[in-house]
């Protein structure tokens, strides 16, 4: 591809320090341990994985809510780490986030119009009448009505609140939206409303999404390229079709086969993984997946597999494909 990516994540790491016991030695929870990917303008990049895989931490680092322990995030050629506070704040206009919990992400003490106007106020955009007009436009865009602005969040259902969260994210015309599990707290029929809305908005405003989720069907539906994470590392990254048609990493394979299919006629042979996801505070040596992998070899236990392009555009971190 010739276009420069909108955002480039280079080998970011996030270690959270913790203390074991009262006088115990210090350790680190390696929430994210060397993740790299890039997102092109106008695409939806899906980030999937199970709890504790570091997908949300990655999203928060891109949003600058957490500072990476190591690595760089480059947005339109600017290294976010090298900017000062004011420059970062300015750049935030281009980044917005949609959160998982539509109940907790809106201040219950503010009216909806204040919530949606908040990014405009923060960045000193528009004033008075214009700001109000903009809020009304945004409410309409996300499928609410302008009279909803006068109300408080608790008067809305989960789906409507998520629409409010989306309107707030759109207020400052962002280029990139990080959506952290935006539909997982919603009912099935509302999920599809929100997914469709996100797709419409993308088309209309040329948005780029990083879509973080644990639901593989949802991620497949909305994304163009997908990265699969396991215990702080990216294990596979490919465009949607090759990832789902031909998953290479044994973890991706089992993840896809574990998704229940809403069709009673399909009785699949499922790869049921043994055991639990290990704790990120004490990850297994070598390939972190080796404790549950059906194809484990001695090499996997000692050596971390490199994240390499195994097929054109299809990256995997697995010794099976490194000969």
């Amino acid at each position: 591809m010739t276009v420069a990516p909108l955002i480039e994540v280079k080998n970011i790491k996030k270690y959270f320090p913790y203390k074991k016991g009262l006088f115990g030695k210090k350790g680190f929870v390696k929430a994210v341990d060397g993740v790299s990917f890039s997102v092109n303008k106008g695409e939806t990049f899906g980030l999937v994985g199970e709890s504790g895989c570091g997908k949300s931490t990655t999203g928060r680092m891109i949003m600058n809510l957490l500072e990476p322990t190591e690595g760089a995030i480059i947005f339109e050629g600017h290294d976010l780490g090298s900017l000062n506070e004011n420059e970062v704040r300015d750049l935030r206009k281009d980044f917005q986030m949609i959160f998982q919990d539509p109940y907790a992400s809106l201040n219950p003490r503010m009216r909806v119009k204040e919530i949606i106007a908040e990014p405009l106020v923060i960045h000193g955009l528009l004033n008075g009448k214009q700001r109000e007009k903009r809020v009304h436009e945004l409410l309409e865009v996300v499928g609410l009505s302008s009279y909803h602005g006068e109300r408080y969040p608790h008067e809305f259902s989960g789906g409507q609140r998520q629409r409010i969260g989306i309107a707030r994210a759109l207020a400052v015309n962002p280029k990139l939206i990080i959506a952290d599990e935006p539909v997982s707290a919603l009912d099935v029929s509302i999920q599809s409303q929100i997914l469709n809305l996100l797709q419409d908005l993308q088309e209309e405003f040329g948005l780029t999404y990083v879509f973080i989720a644990h639901d593989l069907s949802v991620v497949e539906h909305i994304s163009s390229r997908i990265g699969v994470m396991y215990l702080g590392r990216m294990v596979e990254l490919a465009d949607k079709d090759s990832l789902y048609e031909e998953p290479l990493h044994p973890y991706t394979q089992s993840l896809i086969s574990a998704v229940p299919i809403p069709n009673p006629r399909i009785k699949r042979e499922r790869i049921v993984l043994q055991g639990d996801i290990p704790s990120p505070s004490n990850p297994p040596s070598g390939c972190t997946f080796h404790t549950r992998c059906p194809f484990v070899t001695d090499l996997c236990k000692s050596q971390i597999p490199a994240f390499k392009e195994t097929r054109p555009g299809h990256f995997t971190a697995c010794h099976l494909y490194n000969d």
């Binding site: 949003m63 201040n107 908040e118 990014p119 309409e140 759109l170």
Partner: protein, 305 residues
């Protein structure tokens, strides 16, 4: 470019199905609060009583049948009668009038000492909770030290330094209210700080000042209100105790505690001299506490319906 596009309607109108206004009555936080508060009969009674007290504090001296300084040597230590509803004291002063006038002093002392205490405590609590790290440690350790003294002893100590008098009572009571508010505000700051909506606002690029003023502080207001109300009761009690000990209001000021103090010599012969000021203190403190309880139940987001 997005601006221009905004007027454009989404393609699939039915899909978005704008919800119709179902609830006509607006459910503002205030109306929610009132809905829950009015269910608590005790708190309602206490609240009305507090309002009445405030009214008395304003107009008390004007409606009092006698002046608080009016001596009537004809009827010394007279029991309650039609002329003197609560009887008279050792100088023949009308106790009812003195209690009415004392309301203003007690409420004034209670209100202002808590106001200053809450102000200082809130600022310290928010700073400690929001910034954390060493600032938090320093502020909270100082509070711990203040907590280690019994409240009244601390107040006596402060007055020993500043000298007796009502204004010094206010200062003393404020000072020992500060750590209480600091601790409460700090803990609610911590919980508000951890909420997703604060993180969401941070992600919008908000500065700390905005986070504190628009999000953290409003989030702590409900617990401040509750403790504010309850502390007024306690402060009135403390102020009265200090006056009783001769450290606060000096005779002939009709302060309830001072009235108790000067009446205690006649406890056996004329109990009404201490009974009515005592009741005034008791009922006032109780009313503030009940009101505070009711406010807590109505403001606590965890208690639904």
């Amino acid at each position: 470019m997005v601006q221009a596009n905004l007027a454009h309607q989404p393609k699939d109108k039915t899909e978005l199905a704008r919800p119709q206004p179902v609830q006509v009555k607006a459910r503002t936080p205030l109306s929610e609060f009132w809905r829950k508060f009015k269910k608590q009969k005790m708190a309602l009674v206490a609240g009305s009583f507090v309002l009445a007290l405030m009214l008395i504090a304003l107009v008390g001296p004007y409606i009092a049948p006698y002046s608080s300084k009016e001596f009537d040597y004809e009827s010394i230590l007279a029991g309650p009668s039609l002329h003197h509803w609560m009887g008279t004291d050792a100088y023949g002063r009308d106790i009812f009038s003195r209690v009415l006038e004392g309301t203003r002093i007690s409420l004034f002392v209670g209100l202002f000492s808590v106001l200053f205490g809450a102000l200082g405590g809130t600022i310290l609590g928010i700073i400690a909770g929001f910034y954390g790290k060493w600032i938090d440690s320093v502020i909270m350790r100082i509070c711990d030290v203040l907590f280690a003294f019994p409240g009244i002893l601390l107040a006596i100590g402060i007055i020993a330094i500043l000298g007796p008098g009502l204004s010094n009572v206010i200062i003393a009571v404020s000072i020992f209210s500060v750590p209480i508010f600091a601790r409460i505000v700090r803990s609610s700051t911590l919980s508000v700080k951890a909420t997703l909506y604060v993180e969401a606002t941070k992600s919008l690029g908000a500065k700390n000042s905005r986070l504190i003023w628009k999000h953290i502080f409003p989030g702590t207001v409900s617990s401040i209100i509750v403790y504010f109300t309850m502390r007024i009761g306690t402060s009135i009690l403390t102020a009265a105790s200090l006056s009783f000990l001769g450290l606060g209001a000096q005779p002939p000021t009709p302060e309830w505690g001072a009235m108790l103090s000067s009446g205690r010599d006649y406890l056996n012969t004329a109990p009404h001299v201490v009974f009515y000021p005592g009741m005034a203190i008791f009922v006032t403190v109780l009313a503030f506490n009940l009101l505070g309880d009711g406010l807590r139940d109505a403001l606590d987001p965890k208690i639904k319906d």
